[in-house]
C-alpha cells in the first residue's frame, strides 16, 4: 500500500494553497462535534471525501481501504458505548445474563453508538482531506505564515524527512533478523526487538552526526534556510470557501436546534 505521503505528493489538489485547504477542512470538525446528528456527519463526510476522490485523484477503493484503518478503533470504542448493564432485562434490545445482572444493548445506547461512529468518521474524513491533499512540507511552510517559531517548523520537517529513513532502516534490520530466525520464539523475539531498538538508536546518532557534517560543508551556521519551489499555489476564490463554510454552519445551527434532520 502506498503511504499517505505518496497520495499527498501526487494529488491534483496539491497546488491549492494549504491555508485554503485548512480553512475548508478544519471548521467542519468543530461543527460535527457540536451538532449531534448522523445525517449532518454524513453531509460533512461527503463534502470532504468527494473532493479527495473526484478532484484529488485518489481511487475510491484505496480511499475506502484507508478508512478501514480508523474503523477498527471505531468499532471497539463504540461497542463500549452501546453496551449497558442493568438488573432488569426489560430495557434491552437483547441481553445476556451475568450473575444477577444483565449486559446488553438498549435502543438509546445503540443510537448513541451510531451517532458517535458517524461523528468520528466525519471528523476523520476532515483530517484525511488534509492528509490526502497536502504534503507535510507544504503544511510546515504554511505554519510559518501563522507565526509558529522557525525552530519548531525546522524540527518538524527534519523529523518528517528522517522518520522515513529510520523506518526503512528498522525494516531492513528486522528482515535481516527474521532471515536468521530472530523472531522464531518468544524469548528470541524479545531479544531481537531489544537489539533492533538499541541498534536503531546508534544508527540515528551516527546518521545525525553525518548529516550535521554534510550540512556544515554547505555552510550551515545554526539556522536552516531554504527556498521552497516557486509558488505555483492556486488561489481559489476565498468567497467560494466562505460560502461553503457559511452554508454548512447554517445547516449545523438548524440541525442542532432541531429544525433539520
Amino acid at each position: 500500500m502506498r503511504t499517505l505521503d505518496h497520495y499527498a505528493a501526487s494529488s491534483r489538489l496539491r497546488d491549492v494553497a494549504p491555508g485554503y485547504k485548512l480553512l475548508y477542512a478544519l471548521p467542519p470538525i468543530a461543527m460535527v462535534l457540536w451538532v449531534d446528528s448522523a445525517l449532518f456527519a454524513l453531509l460533512v463526510f461527503g463534502l470532504m471525501s468527494g473532493p479527495v476522490v473526484m478532484k484529488g485523484g485518489v481511487r475510491l477503493a484505496d480511499y475506502l481501504r484507508w478508512l478501514l484503518l480508523p474503523a477498527a478503533f471505531l468499532l471497539t470504542a463504540t461497542a463500549a458505548v452501546a453496551f449497558d448493564i442493568s438488573v432488569h432485562p426489560e430495557p434491552f434490545l437483547f441481553s445476556i445474563p451475568l450473575g444477577s445482572a444483565f449486559i446488553g444493548v438498549t435502543s438509546a445506547g445503540f443510537a448513541r453508538a451510531i451517532h458517535l461512529a458517524f461523528k468520528a468518521l466525519a471528523s476523520v474524513s476532515c483530517l484525511y482531506f488534509i492528509a490526502f491533499t497536502t504534503p507535510v512540507a507544504d503544511l510546515g511552510r504554511s505554519m510559518a505564515s501563522l507565526g509558529i517559531p522557525a525552530l519548531l517548523i525546522e524540527m518538524t520537517l527534519l523529523v518528517y524527512r528522517f522518520v522515513f529513513l529510520l523506518f526503512e532502516t528498522a525494516l531492513e534490520m528486522a528482515t535481516a533478523q527474521r532471515s536468521r530466525l530472530g523472531y522464531a520464539g518468544t524469548a528470541a523475539s524479545f531479544r531481537s526487538l531489544a537489539s533492533l531498538a538499541s541498534n536503531l538508536f546508534l544508527f540515528s546518532a551516527r546518521r545525525a552526526e553525518e548529516v550535521y557534517v554534510a550540512m556544515e560543508c554547505r555552510g550551515y551556521d545554526g539556522s536552516i534556510r531554504v527556498l521552497a519551489p516557486s509558488p505555483r499555489a492556486q488561489r481559489l476564490s476565498f468567497a467560494g470557501i466562505a460560502l461553503v463554510e457559511g452554508t454548512l454552519f447554517c445547516v449545523a445551527i438548524a440541525t442542532h436546534f432541531g429544525r433539520l434532520f
Binding site: 505528493a9 507535510v136 560543508c217 554547505r218
Partner: protein
C-alpha cells in the same frame, strides 16, 4: 604539466577522536583543472583526506594549502573555503535533509546569502545540469538511490565551487548509471575547468575518466602520478590492496607469462585495441613477406 597547485597538503597528519591515525604525514598536490583519483583500500584515509580538504577535519600537524594559502579555520575562513571546495558524500541519505528536492538544492545557496532570484536561477540551472528538474517538488524519500545521488551532486554544484570532492561517486550505482555520472563529471570538468578529486574503489573507471591518480595506504601516499604510469608502479597499486584494471592485468599476463611482445601498455579497451591493431598490421606485413 606546469599548472599551479589548487590544493596541496604538507605533512598532513589527522587523528580521529578515538585515536585512529587517519592521515599520517600525507603529501599531495592537486593541480588546477585536473581530475585526480584517490585510490586505496578500505580505511586507507581517502574520506579523511576529503574531509580535511574541506576543513571539516582539522590537522593535528602539517597543513592544507588552497592556492598556496594555508586554510583559515575561522568561521569566516571556513565559509569562504566551503564555497570554493564542495564535497559530495558517498551516502546521499547523509547529505539530503530537506523535505523536497528543490529546498535541498537551495540550502547551500541560501547560506551564501545570495538574493532570492539568483538562488532560484542557480537551483534551476543545477537541476537541469544533472537532469533532476522534473523531481523538483518531490519529497527526498520518494527518490531512487541514483536520483538521490544526482540531487546531492546538484546541491553542491549549485554553489559553483572551483574544486569538487567526490566520495565514491559510483558506489551503489548500476554500471550504466556509474558511467553516466563519471562522463557527466568529465564533461563538466572540461567545460568549466573545475578541479575534481574522486575517492574511489572503482579502478576500471580511473583510466577512462581521470588524469592522475594517487594511491594511498594507511594515511600515506604510495604513488602519485599520471594514470598511465600506474602500470609501471603496479606493485605499489597491489600493495595498497587494489588491483590493475582488467585490461592492464591481461596485458601484463600476456607479456610475462605468454611471451607476447607488445608495442606498449594498455589500461582501457580503446588502448588495447590500438595495440592489437598494430600487432595485426605487423603480422600482415610478415605474412605478405612470406607469401
Amino acid at each position: 604539466m606546469a599548472s599551479p597547485d589548487m590544493l596541496k597538503t604538507e605533512g598532513l597528519r589527522c587523528i580521529w577522536p578515538d585515536g585512529t591515525v587517519a592521515l599520517d604525514g600525507l603529501e599531495l598536490s592537486i593541480r588546477v583543472g585536473e581530475v585526480i583519483a584517490l585510490l586505496g583500500g578500505n580505511g586507507a584515509g581517502k574520506s579523511s583526506l576529503l574531509l580535511s580538504l574541506n576543513g571539516i577535519l582539522k590537522p593535528r600537524s602539517g597543513r592544507v594549502l588552497l592556492r598556496d594559502e594555508p586554510l583559515d579555520y575561522s568561521a569566516r575562513g571556513l565559509k569562504a573555503l566551503r564555497q570554493e571546495v564542495g564535497i559530495v558524500f558517498q551516502n546521499p541519505d547523509a547529505q539530503l535533509f530537506a523535505s523536497s528536492v528543490y529546498e535541498d538544492i537551495s540550502f547551500g545557496l541560501c547560506n551564501l546569502a545570495l538574493p532570492e532570484p539568483d538562488v532560484r536561477r542557480r537551483v534551476e540551472v543545477a537541476m537541469e545540469l544533472v537532469g533532476v528538474a522534473e523531481l523538483a517538488r518531490k519529497p527526498v524519500h520518494h527518490l531512487s538511490f541514483g536520483q538521490k545521488k544526482r540531487v546531492a551532486l546538484a546541491g553542491v554544484l549549485a554553489m559553483e565551487p572551483s574544486v569538487l570532492l567526490l566520495d565514491e561517486p559510483t558506489a551503489g550505482l548500476d554500471p550504466q548509471g556509474a558511467d553516466a555520472i563519471m562522463r557527466f563529471i568529465r564533461d563538466l570538468q572540461s567545460t568549466s575547468g573545475m578541479t575534481v578529486v574522486v575517492a574511489t574503489h572503482d579502478i576500471e573507471m580511473v583510466p577512462l575518466f581521470c588524469d592522475r591518480a594517487c594511491v594511498m595506504e594507511r594515511g600515506r601516499v604510495l604513488f602519485e602520478g599520471e594514470v598511465a604510469s600506474m602500470f609501471e608502479h603496479r606493485d605499489l597499486v597491489r600493495k595498497a590492496g587494489l588491483r590493475l584494471p582488467r585490461i592492464a592485468h591481461l596485458i601484463e599476463i600476456l607479456v610475462l607469462k605468454d611471451g607476447f611482445t607488445l608495442p606498449g601498455n594498455a589500461m582501457t579497451i580503446g588502448e588495447a585495441r590500438k595495440i592489437l591493431k598494430q600487432l595485426n598490421v605487423k603480422s600482415d606485413e610478415n605474412g605478405s613477406v612470406q607469401g
